[in-house]
Amino acid sequence: MDTRPLAAPQAPAASLRNTMRFEGSAGEYFKIWIVNIALTIVTLGIFSAWAKVRSKRYFYGNTYIGTNAFDYHAAPLRILLGRAIAFGFLLAYSLTAAISPKLIGLWYLLFLAALPWLIKSSLRFAARNTSYRNVRFDFHGSYWGACKAFILWQMLAVVTLLSLLPFAHRARDYYHINNNRYGQTAFQAEIPVGKLYKYYGLALLAILGALAVIVGLTGGTMNIFKPADGLVIAARIVAVIFGAVAFWGAPAYLGALTFNLALNNTRLGENVTFESHLSPVRMTWIVFSNILLTMISLGLLYPWARVRRARYMAECMTVVSPADAGDFQSMPMPAGNTIGEEVASFFDIDFGL
């Protein structure tokens, strides 16, 4: 790691390779996490916004590239406000469902219309509240852009019997990456769609193969209300495990492959490039075992699971930049719109890459 003052701009532009590191520890985060949950319970939920910010700060602030870590700046009060609004919507929705179920359709329409706005605001909020070395990120995506990437492309993929799914995936990644900026410098991704077709094809084959095995094991019937002997039950259990691995594992596997692809084809400005080599098998294993161990430990291993995942992901990512990385300049900007992000996260929409 280069801890010396950075070279002058006119120095020869030798490339610096910085592998990301996560320097947090499970024990330290456990204490932070548990004390914050206790405070949240004591304050009847109010403190949860502060707890969330501290948790995010911990993970951002321990993720290093070279000598410096990221920073997270969101204001808890605004998050609390967004949360209250989201909760109000949820309440209104439930009341509608209880009183006049016929009007539920209107809510779905409203939600569909709001979705691009939620996506846009949530990405902008996340970007604007993230900084690295005194320069904040920014996001310039539009409502219409989100509409195209997240609704129209997905619809087109469904209409064409999923044959355009890789294009829809690319549209999402492009919206995400190409609208992001670090200070005044734009991110630029050019993803070869052929590779995406290959990955999606593999995932499809895996799911079809799993289906074949499951049908073979159970004879296509899975009526759990019918009595069965030991062998049939054993076959069913194997089928269920196989099914779970295939249907949850295939997306996790695909996720790691497409994440690598997107990052490996992304540039920041003219000179900064990225490398990601997540192992799909290992990533899938980490996701699976994390869920399992968190469940078995009644939640106590949740901090360890998060730290473990963050550490592995950081280890797999490298930033390649010219030696004079200090040239980045920030733009004056207003704070982001929290309400979008909090409403989005409350309704469980995850737009992460």
């Binding site: 003052p5 950075l6 320097e23 947090g24 330290e28 985060y29 456990f30 204490k31 932070i32 548990i34 004390v35 914050n36 949950i37 206790a38 949240t40 319970i41 939920g45 949860s48 707890a51 969330k52 501290r54 700060r57 911990y58 602030g61 321990n62 000598t67 410096n68 870590a69 920073d71 949360r83 209880a98 009183i99 179920p101 690295y132 070395r133 005194n134 320069v135 200070g183 209300f225 009595p227 994390n290 869920i291 968190t294 469940m295 009644l298 939640g299 106590l300 949740y302 200090g326 040239d327 980045f328 300049q329 920030s330 733009m331 004056p332 996260s345 409350f346 309704f347 469980d348 995850d350």
Partner: protein
């Protein structure tokens, strides 16, 4: 005492080694480089310092956009005495973590044992009959045509059950109105369930399995007890209270959070349901005994039902099920005292 760290000019990612000073009068925070050149200076009140969290570097933000960062957490806390680091102190102690864990466990236990059932009970009591009606209609609509078909029982048989139903309803002094719906349910099999508004669905398959009217009386009394205690509404509220509380406390409705709480939520929900079943059994037994009927008939009927639906091995472990183990239910019904 100067603090070592890095300085960033306003809006720039360029960092240089620098030191942070508090002026002698305690009013200004200054950043100087190794040669002593002043890089930034502002009144202490206009400078924001990030709060301490784990081992994170502290950021000192100047109003003009310049930034100083240092890894010396203790140093900056000593320099800026009165800077509130109470939360970070709480977060550093293992003893407090253990205490928090105990408190959270106790709160969770109280919440599951009392909080959820009591609030669901209160909500059910406050729910207007019209709302119960809507929920019942919805439930019925979702099943009608798919799982529930028009009854295929002969008219005479239907009439006889209706007479029994009216008779059992007459034993009740709770003042609830009940209504009997007979349905053919080939996919569900022998079953009966109560809707929140007092309608009770009994399947043809169950009627055909009953060997005596007394057995049917037991089933009807059991379902009426569900209505009397608003068990239907209460389980709806209980089922929504737990996820709502988790989302509220953790502020995290992510996939990961959902996956990890699904199983515990199902287990808790089943435990509530088993309690309701036991209460309905107890009420039915009291009602039957009071009329000089033997609850053992219901016990025998339950045992036959289990044999029919699940075979000799039984219906799986009872701690997972919505009903207590049939053997336990039957034994409890048989030794139920007349009140």
């Amino acid at each position: 005492m100067p603090l070592p760290g890095f300085y960033f000019p306003p809006g720039s990612a360029r960092q240089t080694e620098a030191e942070l000073y508090l002026t002698a009068d305690g009013k200004y925070l200054e950043v100087r480089d190794g040669g002593g050149t002043l890089l930034a200076s502002a009144p202490r009140r206009q400078v924001t310092v990030t709060s301490r969290l784990g081992n994170l570097r502290r950021k000192v933000a100047y109003p003009d956009g310049a930034l100083f960062e240092t890894a010396d957490n203790d140093g900056i806390d000593a320099l800026l005495t009165g800077h509130n680091g109470a939360l970070a102190r709480l977060e550093r102690s293992w003893r407090l973590a253990a205490l928090s864990l105990l408190a959270i466990a106790a709160c969770t236990a109280l919440f599951i044992l009392y909080g959820v059932p009591r609030s669901a009970e209160w909500l059910a009591r406050e729910t207007p009959p019209s709302a119960s009606r809507v929920i019942a209609d919805q439930t019925l609509k979702a099943m009608e045509g798919k799982f529930l078909l028009p009854t295929g029982l002969p008219l005479a048989r239907q009439q006889r059950i209706r007479d029994r139903f009216a008779r059992v309803a007459g034993w009740e002094a709770s003042g609830h109105g009940y209504d009997l719906l007979l349905r053919n349910a080939p996919h569900v099999g022998p079953n009966a369930f109560a809707l929140p508004d007092g309608r009770i669905v009994v399947t043809d398959q169950l009627v055909l399995m009953a060997k005596s009217d007394t057995e049917l009386d037991g089933v009807l009394a059991h379902e009426m007890a569900h209505v009397n205690h608003s068990h239907g509404l209460r389980s709806v509220y209980q089922a929504s209270l737990i996820p709502a509380a988790i989302a509220f406390i953790t502020g995290d409705a992510s996939q990961f959070a959902q996956m990890t709480v699904i199983l515990p939520a199902i287990l808790v929900q089943s435990a509530y349901s088993r309690k309701f079943e036991q209460q309905a059994d107890d009420d039915a037994a009291i009602l039957l005994r009071r009329q000089g009927e033997d609850p053992a008939a219901l016990a025998g009927f339950l045992e036959r039902m289990e044999l029919k639906t699940c075979g000799k091995t039984g219906c799986g472990p009872s701690w997972l099920g919505s009903h207590p183990a049939t053997s336990a239910r039957a034994a409890r019904l048989r030794r139920a005292p007349a009140q």
